[in-house]
Symmetry: C2
Subunit: 294 residues, 2 copies
């Protein structure tokens, strides 16, 4: 069994990005700039944001953070987005989700100029991903594909089973895994809450991607020996032995499943670090106008 | 075995649309208007267009057809599209594909105002379909979902296997079949040219959607008894007994497979007529501004 070390792969990619930024600066180009909007003081969002700012520093990006109180109106938020859409120094930006309930998240997502939508949530980017056109890919699916690629895992003709059909993980990772590309070219099955026979299907998986958000859902008897297992779950579960009182738990019963696998990602330290790196890759592409012309 | 009579279901839906148009006119609203651009004189495209114009008449729509010669430049075509984008009388329009090789099809598709894109090919509509938002759905996948719905086939928790990963059929029908909706809520597997063990997978299908464009590909030993089989294939094969010299052949070996099925679509007369009806439904929704505000 080989552990897929997402943390170390992520560090390596950030180094590569930092080198490209150095080259851009040497050519007289401006420093890539990622902006973020954070509404309210949700603990999870705050810690994601801290990690994103740190990743920007490691990559040599400029980062700016606009903070707003919980009671910002939708109109005020849309104005802030418009400001970033029209700021020529900002290459890409994100609005940290979730937003307060009085704000229409989908309206906010669609207000972002898709050419600066480095989270890849705008329908134009989602549609282009589905069609197989260059686009800003949403961070977690792109992180998974990068992990497989950097781990030298051959995906062509393999059966990839995805657990979960969310808009930000399950559906887009299914699209990437079935795409006529490398990695890709998998036969793909998507299972979800309405699937009656999940174990029967997961046992057929050469590559199993678990993105249900259900702690330790995948047991040893659900995995084919020799499978590659990618664990996207990050649920906080109570743990009295930790100072914080909790630990992150994946969707896979790691200790029981790992001995069966050819490759497996740990939680934490697997998919998580790669997600932020995807955002950095998208920001670099935005700054270089790799996908959409200036 | 029950034959799914797409032709008769399509006639029924067109009648329902015509009734709605009558109501719109009685309310003093304008007649829905579908426009089409046809470039060149491809035989298949001409006959599709004839069928679309006839369907417009049956639904009580106004239809207009702009014809251009094969040698139209991309700029001229884009100007024609812009004219339709800005014509307030035109509710929706299509550009018949394929286009001559000197024209960038994707650029043409993206030039269409997504609010008039009744073919559902614009990335905004593709993306919204994937996310599960209201949108113009592309015609064949929507036709398939309509057939299942009107035939009273329960899809929830069933295993749907899709053969083919094209942008206009395989990928969008997979998205619709896995969606949290009715019809929908299927476990979905997508197979394609890189799948090494197609028969093994199709034998698990409760619902099999064949969209490979490979005549009589699906044989009896690839189908589970009692399955629902939807045949999207429409390949012209030589047939000396026909006046035309050819007949349409589906992706399913119909005579061998039909006796095994609970339901099956014929070719022709199955999915084909439903495809045009989807276009009519999209045009009605465009005229009513059901999806995008006026």
């Amino acid at each position: 069994m080989q552990l897929i070390d997402g943390k170390s792969i992520a560090e390596q990619i950030k180094k590569e990005i930092a080198e490209q930024v150095e080259q851009m600066l040497a050519q007289g180009l401006k420093r890539p700039h990622l902006a973020a909007i954070l509404v309210g003081h949700d603990g999870g969002s705050e810690s994601y944001m801290t990690n994103k700012v740190r990743a920007c520093e490691q990559c040599g990006f400029k980062s700016t953070l606009q903070r707003y109180d919980e009671d910002i109106t939708e109109e005020e938020l849309l104005r802030a987005i418009d400001g970033l859409n029209n700021d020529p120094d900002v290459d890409g930006f994100i609005v940290q989700l979730p937003l307060p309930k009085h704000i229409d998240e989908q309206r906010v997502i669609e207000a972002i100029d898709y050419r600066k939508d480095v989270d890849g949530f705008h329908p134009v980017n989602v549609g282009r991903l589905s069609i197989g056109l260059p686009c800003f890919r949403s961070a977690t699916p792109q992180g998974i594909v990068n992990l497989l690629d950097r781990s030298g895992i051959d995906t062509r003709g393999k059966h990839c089973v995805v657990l979960g059909r969310s808009n930000i993980v399950g559906k887009p990772v299914a699209a990437l895994m079935m795409a006529k590309s490398k990695p890709g070219n998998c036969t793909v099955t998507v299972c979800h809450s309405a699937t009656p026979n999940i174990p029967e299907i997961t046992r057929q998986a050469d590559i199993l991607i678990a993105a249900l958000g259900s702690p330790a859902f995948v047991k040893a008897d659900m995995v084919k020996p020799g499978a590659v297992v990618i664990d996207v779950g990050t649920t906080r579960v109570a743990d009295a032995t930790r100072k914080s009182g909790w630990r992150l738990c994946g969707d896979v019963d790691f200790d029981a499943v790992a001995p069966l696998c050819s490759h497996i990602t740990p939680v934490p330290g697997g998919v998580g670090p790669m997600t932020i790196v995807s955002l950095m890759q998208n920001t670099l592409m935005a700054a270089k106008h790799t996908i959409y012309p200036a």
